[in-house]
Symmetry: C2
Subunit: 314 residues, 2 copies
């Protein structure tokens, strides 16, 4: 069994390869060719911590993967990272463990950004004069980097709550050739941008229906559990096209769940990303459509990004 | 993170320490102080293989554990073991992985044998003139070894389907001071033995109600999934005391499920092993009682046996 450190994983990461494999995985998932057992959750209530265990296998593949993802939110107080999770890749022919990827959650962050990029490939308006990034954390950085691979636009607005993190974000991307304007007013961002990605842990809507112009696309990646919400239910109800990486999850705890529970949308309104990537369903019908993609995360993405690291090393 | 090979694990194994910790874990489980998320199953239908992922955490403990247990039953044809599973021990204070135990299923086999030993401590008749072991495989060996730690009896009958494995079993234990008689007639074994352990993958009952004398105890460890059965439903219905490591599992797929589905026993008839070990419920009331323990296996045993290896190494 090979052991990969965080550093080795970052060096081996190839965005194009990861995107191709995750695309394949999402298509297989929507075609019913993936085994994803329900996630296991362990909670450590005394110290504000949890652990999630996910596993996945694409039928006929050479490998399967188990991911242990932990969040110990008091760790930074003692100088430790919150997430010390890992991915373990096993042979699907013999069960032998092939690789242990000690990524500390980095691959989970990357596979979410890669899904954001795949959405852009099938849902972006033809003309994007400015990209809006709602949030300034790691996922906000990764989403813009991933979009940079597939969208030509280099004009960006970024929204955040803190001056310092907004400045840091602007400076980081200025060095990569982006022209980034900071704002603490999400309406200003919405007015300027036709491609918006929300990537915050917000529990209350940050974007309202009346702010969004026709022809805008929004990708929401923050709502990964119950109690989180980045888009108002009215905005979700207003959209012409709704796409989710996993329809069942988006209705259970994702961005679409709030509008669904309020009776504003029906399950049939939501297309699954794998079917859009496969060309079976459209990601955008007309240029003035408002389109929304909700990414709650699937273990098949973990399987595929782990494979991309192993392949890149060979 | 420390990595333990199979050989290091076998050398570090201390039966007394494992028994004390597994006893503690089973008691905590029955007291509702253990988190055991539902197991994940991945199936590889094309090659007769499967993988089970279990995790467990005892409230307030320093560690939690994830176990990946694989069964690739065509592996031996290419000279490989069927099980290449592992246990991973994480800090419950920080989520940091502490140890990777590459036990290839050995600890699962051992923790099952340890549970058998714990059953003997609270359910064995006062006088056992002969022990009966039904089965000749690894688990049959481990069960008799574990019983040898707590029962004085050295007279043994062993039942099997193959002359060669019966001979090997007898010879192995003769070297350890047991006097073992082989038989291919389970009724003969039942007539001679007041303490019987069944440890086969049988799908049909091997022991019948009319063969079992008053005062006999039977521990059944083979039925670890639907479709397996070692004791007739009439025998289960006849017993005066029924104990299961996990009442819910025993009714779902364990040895008691068949009698339960036939309406011969009720859930209230079954005591949970942790409660018997804690002294809250009796394992045996009278000397002529027929008692049965059904062991289907709990992830808290994996947690505790992994801890015993780490402690023994310190």
């Amino acid at each position: 069994m090979e052991i990969y450190t965080s550093k080795q994983i970052m060096q081996a990461f190839r965005p194009e390869l990861a995107a191709a494999l995750i695309r394949e995985g999402l298509i297989a998932y929507s075609a019913g060719q993936v085994q994803l057992p329900p996630a296991q959750h362990i909670k450590f209530d005394a110290i504000e911590a949890d652990c999630v265990i996910k596993s996945g296998y694409m039928e006929g593949d050479k490998v399967f993967t188990v991911k242990v993802s932990s969040g110990f939110y008091q760790n930074p107080q003692q100088g430790l990272a919150s997430n010390h999770g890992m991915l373990i890749v096993f042979s699907a022919h013999t069960g032998v463990p092939l690789a242990l990827l000690l990524d500390k959650g980095w691959l989970t962050a990357q596979r979410t950004a890669v899904a954001g990029r795949l959405v852009a490939e099938v849902m972006a308006p033809e003309q994007v004069e400015a990209i809006g990034i709602v949030g300034t954390g790691l996922q906000a950085h990764l989403q813009l980097e991933a979009l940079g691979e597939v969208l030509d636009c280099r004009q960006v607005w970024v929204w955040g709550r803190h001056e310092a993190s907004l400045q840091a974000f602007c400076q980081h991307f200025a060095e990569q050739g982006f022209e980034v304007r900071p704002t603490m007013d999400a309406q200003q961002l919405a007015a300027a941008c036709r491609y918006i990605v929300t990537c915050t842990p917000s529990a209350h809507p940050l974007l309202k229906a009346e702010w969004i112009a026709p022809g805008t696309h929004i990708t929401a990646v923050g709502a990964d559990r119950k109690g989180k919400q980045e888009l108002s239910s009215a905005l979700v109800a207003l959209a012409d096209v709704l796409v989710a990486d996993c329809v069942a999850q988006s209705l259970e705890f994702g961005e679409f769940s709030h509008a669904f529970e309020a009776g504003l949308i029906r399950q049939e309104h939501i297309a699954e990303l794998g079917n859009v990537l496969a060309g079976k369903l459209p990601g955008r019908l007309q240029s003035h459509d408002i389109t929304i993609a909700d990414l709650t995360g699937l273990a098949i993405q973990d399987v595929q990004i782990a494979k991309s690291i192993l392949l890149a090393q060979q």
